[in-house]
Amino acid sequence: MTFLEGPSDGRWDLTPVLARVRAAFAGVRLAERYDVAVDHGELGDVVVVTQPCDVAVPALPLPEVVRSALDSRLELVHGVGPIRAAALRAGGVRSVSDLAGLPAYSDRARPVCDEWDADDLVAVGDRLKARLAGRGHLLGALLAGCVRLEEIAFLDVETLGLSGNAIFLSGIGRFRDASFVVEQYLAPSYADEPAMLARLVREIARARLVVTYNGRTADIPWIRSRCFFHGLVSPPELAHVDLVYGTRRQFVHDAEVLTDARLPTVQHELLGLLRPGHDVPSMAVPELYQEYVATANEGMLVPVIEHNRSDLEALVVLLDRLCVEALGACS
């Protein structure tokens, strides 16, 4: 959810916003604007909206380049902090592979290399976050270079609130033959959330790497929570990169290019992307869905669908940019 933010005291009167949306999309049916299919399943109904998008294929680093970049981070080895790493480098030890050859470090450096050899992206990602904190999240973006483009799922969900509330729409963007296609799964009622989640989990399970932009309202744990709530099987553990941390570290703290890491700011200031036509504040999103459920007015969902798609597009561009920054940070 990355809409315009309201006043900081939270007292945003949403009535005019809802009125504006009602007026702009009165009587609109989703099937008129989008490619819509309804999947009737055992658990309930899922409305599937498919949208092709005009996004350039990101220039991701080759696996060897990623390996070499990560190899240069001595701090990935347990017991090697910045000071020891500097000392080691001064002594000519330049990579984790070098360390693996030294008796004093091989026990601890070997597992790191083993993870790369086994292509265990989950373990590599966890180690990056655990050992390198903020910088580690930035480097996590490089994992995108270790899989095929089609194996990446860009993910963004829309929820009823900020804390474990129901998910009503989830969007996955994937490349198929150099075209970026966004598929969005909508629960047409509260009771259809499990059906939507089941579909989402199935789609996520096809990927090897999930890319999101969330921070605290992290998508994967949220999906697990909702699956638990409904008694569904959780998505399997898989490699996951949340681009917000790397963005914040690189562009807000270090380079001070951005004032904050909110996605609208990033989209506009950093990536030069245009925002979709009908902006609504994030606080209005749950109300738009509630009105849709109560009145069957599909038009209320148009701004949500547009934004979800535009955020997924932004993720692709941002991933491209962060990989450049990450490689720069390793040289």
Partner: protein, 739 residues
């Protein structure tokens, strides 16, 4: 015994002594009684006991036996009787039998919970449980949390934290799916609204554990109350097996009743301070408990003047955490001779052995009194406890009837299970954790269908395939406060620094503009109070006066749920609204009121439960001074309540009138000072005859005419104790006795 007699002598030899000692109860101490468990303990646990030199007391062995027999167990033995070891044995039994089993310990505070970790680590190591015991609470660093959730088999926490963590049950899946045992210490503290919330948090826990395939059982510990079995069952929703034959060692002890009213010239606090100073002078390391922050400050100041050179510090919960840690560590290391504290230290935070305890005023319940008395003599040295009673009715009654303290318990712990606001809040939380199903109904009681219907019509809960689920846009757990206090806190600031933090209701009563506030013995005058922003600003001052708020109240009774005849009266029970306003404050110089200042503060509305009394049809006339009698009876019943329902001052309130607009008759009202009710009015209704008997006994023993502070005056009386008639009240209460 030599030590305590010397200390007693120090009290009677002190210049201020006027024969205040009314009673000395000498308890000769008790030799320990040991027993083995019926079946051998797991080898690892045996090793641990042997290595630590522990032999099980009879109650510890019995608790383990009862646990192994498949019961939920409640230990009702006194403070320092080795309840922790009993818990730990049950936990070790579970964890040794199943390598994946987990255990949860719940304590009322983070500090108490964390105090257990050292012993648990030792047990874990010696018994080879591979449990990685850890605290999981607000102080646990976020980096450590994931690992604890993934790997720890023993977790210590508190109900407030558990309430929050249950909101994300997926994260706790591993821990809850193998949960075998839940330990709940200090169970008697979970009373009223807090008790109801904690009981429901435990139901939420059970529901999730059951859904994951676990069948945990409970081991509880409680202080001495009259109804341990009933209370335990109220909290965990199942019958509990009570173990109360205390086999622990107890050193000889003298408990002294010191009636400060024998010297009416000097206040209770001053006399308690002098007793403390006398004990310090006799070389006794002493703790003095005071019932309020203000009193604690004053007593510390006075004790320091009475014992120059002695190192005496004041400890209360309103201080910043850093200040409190410093005092705790000084006391532990013996760098302090005495500490004056509010109830904050009553719970077993370990401060080392103390020789004497002084209680400046009756702590409010017999259970708390014994808990405070238990602070002295930890190393089984002879100990001395001095209860300094004051002139208010309950204290005076105790000074007259000390057997209340030493006989069989009469006070009952009451859980506000009828409070539908509490139930609604907790059910809403549950609905956000796992959809609510038919079989879950049993856990939440008869009112559940009504609560759910109401939540559905409010659009907060809707039907989903797996049951009824939360569909709101907020986080339910954030809207529920376990202790039922009104929202909002107020920071009292001096200059830029925070002096202390008060809850909103307390801020209106103590930090109104013009109030004189005491902190660490220094006076501050409050300049402004901004309730919206939650800030009060104050400045240092030095004046010879103190202030007290004047509160006005009005009430309205609702539907009559229960009704009965009592004597020639009729008692009713049901919901009621009470409105209060701090209308102004009085300024006192040397205990004399010199000025009354009006204030403009918002009204507080309380929707609660109440008991009311109206004359029956057959009643001909009321005693001569009807208003005085009604008012007096109201006070007497309120004063007797704590003895019955284990409530504190301020947990219940009252009102009386010669003409209630709805009934057209006189009316006496007793209400719970908590939104939705605390179970007190309900308990009063259920035991009304006993309550009336206590109230009569309290008034009867006084020799004053119309009433005095010792029998009928109430410190918080909104009308300043005007219009009270003791004899009239007695006659009225006699009319409540079945003829």
């Amino acid at each position: 015994m030599l030590v305590t007699d010397g200390a007693l002598g120090a009290i009677t030899d002190a210049p201020g002594y006027r024969g205040q000692i009314r009673h000395v109860e000498r308890q000769p101490g008790q030799l320990p009684r040991f027993a083995p468990t019926s079946a051998p303990l797991p080898p690892g646990l045996q090793r641990y006991l042997e290595a630590s030199g522990f032999e099980l007391y009879v109650h510890q062995a019995r608790a383990v036996d009862s646990w192994r027999a498949g019961h939920d167990v409640l230990l009702a033995t006194r403070t320092a009787s080795g309840k922790s070891l009993a818990f730990n044995c049950c936990v070790a039994d579970v964890l040794a039998a199943d390598r994946r089993a987990t255990a949860l310990y719940l304590y009322p505070t983070k500090a108490l919970a964390r105090d257990q970790l050292a012993a648990l680590a030792a047990l874990d190591a010696a018994a080879g449980l591979d449990a990685s015991p850890a605290a999981y609470d607000g102080d646990t660093p976020s980096a450590a949390r994931a690992k604890i959730r993934r790997t720890s088999r023993i977790v210590v926490s508190n109900p407030y934290g558990l309430h929050e963590y249950l909101a994300q049950p997926a994260a706790l899946e591993r821990f809850l799916a193998h949960l075998g045992i839940v330990v709940l210490d200090e169970a008697h503290r979970y009373r009223g609204v807090l008790g109801a919330n904690v009981a429901l948090v435990l139901r939420r826990l059970l529901r999730i554990a059951h859904r994951l395939g676990a069948r945990p059982r409970f081991v509880l510990a409680s202080g001495t109350i009259a109804n341990p079995a009933e209370h335990g069952a109220a909290l965990v929703g199942r019958p509990v097996d009570v173990v109360d034959d205390d086999g622990g060692a107890q050193g000889p002890r003298s408990v002294v009743l010191f009636d400060s009213a024998c010297d009416p010239e000097r206040s209770l606090g001053l006399q308690a301070a002098e007793v403390t100073a006398a004990l310090v002078g006799a070389g006794q390391s002493t703790i003095c408990f005071a019932g309020s922050r203000v009193l604690a400050e004053l007593v510390a100041t006075w004790a320091s003047s009475a014992a120059p050179g002695a190192r005496i510090a004041c400890y209360r919960a309103g201080y910043l955490a850093s200040e409190r840690r410093e005092i705790e560590s000084d006391l532990r290391a013996g760098r302090l001779d005495a500490v004056v504290s509010t109830n904050a230290l009553e719970l077993g935070i370990d401060v080392g052995g103390l020789d004497a305890v002084v209680m400046a005023g009756y702590p409010g319940t017999v259970a708390s009194t014994w808990q405070q008395i238990g602070r002295a003599g930890r190393a089984h040295r002879p100990a001395l406890a001095v209860l300094v009673t004051g002139e208010d009715p309950l204290d005076s009654y105790l000074a007259r009837r000390p057997q209340i303290l030493f006989g069989a318990p009469v006070e009952r712990a009451v859980v506000a299970l009828e409070n539908e606001k509490v139930l609604t809040g907790q059910v809403l939380c549950a609905s956000a954790e796992l959809a609510l199903r038919e079989e879950d109904m049993a856990l939440f009681g008869d009112a559940l269908p009504r609560v759910l219907a109401s939540l559905q019509s409010d659009g907060l809960v809707a039907r989903v395939p797996s049951g009824l689920g939360f569909v709101g846009t907020f986080r339910p757990a954030s809207t529920v406060r376990l202790d039922g206090r009104a929202d909002g806190t107020v920071e009292v600031r001096v200059g830029g620094a925070v002096l202390e933090v008060l809850d909103r209701a307390r801020a209106m009563r103590q930090a109104y503009p013009g109030a004189i506030l005491l902190h660490r013995g220094e006076q501050y005058r409050v300049g402004t109070l901004d309730l919206e922003a939650g800030v009060a600003r104050a400045e240092r001052c030095e004046v010879a006066e103190h202030t007290r708020a004047v509160v006005t109240r009005s009430y309205r009774t609702g539907a009559v749920e229960r009704r009965r005849e009592i004597g020639s009266w009729i008692a009713g029970l049901g919901p009621a609204d009470v409105r209060s306003t701090v209308a102004g404050y009085k300024v006192f110089r040397a205990d004399e009121p010199v000025q009354t200042v009006p204030l403009e503060l918002p009204e507080s509305v309380l929707e609660t439960r109440a008991l009311w009394l109206v004359p029956g049809a057959g009643m001909t006339a009321l005693p001569r001074d009807a208003l005085g009698a009604l008012h007096g009876a109201e006070h007497a019943l309120i004063h007797a309540l704590p003895l019955l329902a284990m409530c504190d001052r301020g947990d219940a309130g009252g009102a009386s009138t010669a003409l209630d607009p709805r009934c057209g008759t006189p009316l006496v009202l007793l209400y719970d000072a908590y939104d939705g009710g605390a179970g007190i009015a309900d308990a009063a209704y259920a035991h009304l005859d006993a309550l009336v008997g206590l109230a009569i006994d309290m008034l009867d023993g006084c020799d004053c005419e119309t009433g005095c502070p010792r029998c009928i005056f109430d410190r918080d009386c909104g009308s300043g104790n005007a219009d009270l008639d003791r004899l009239g009240a007695l006659a009225l209460l006699a009319g409540l006795r079945a003829s």
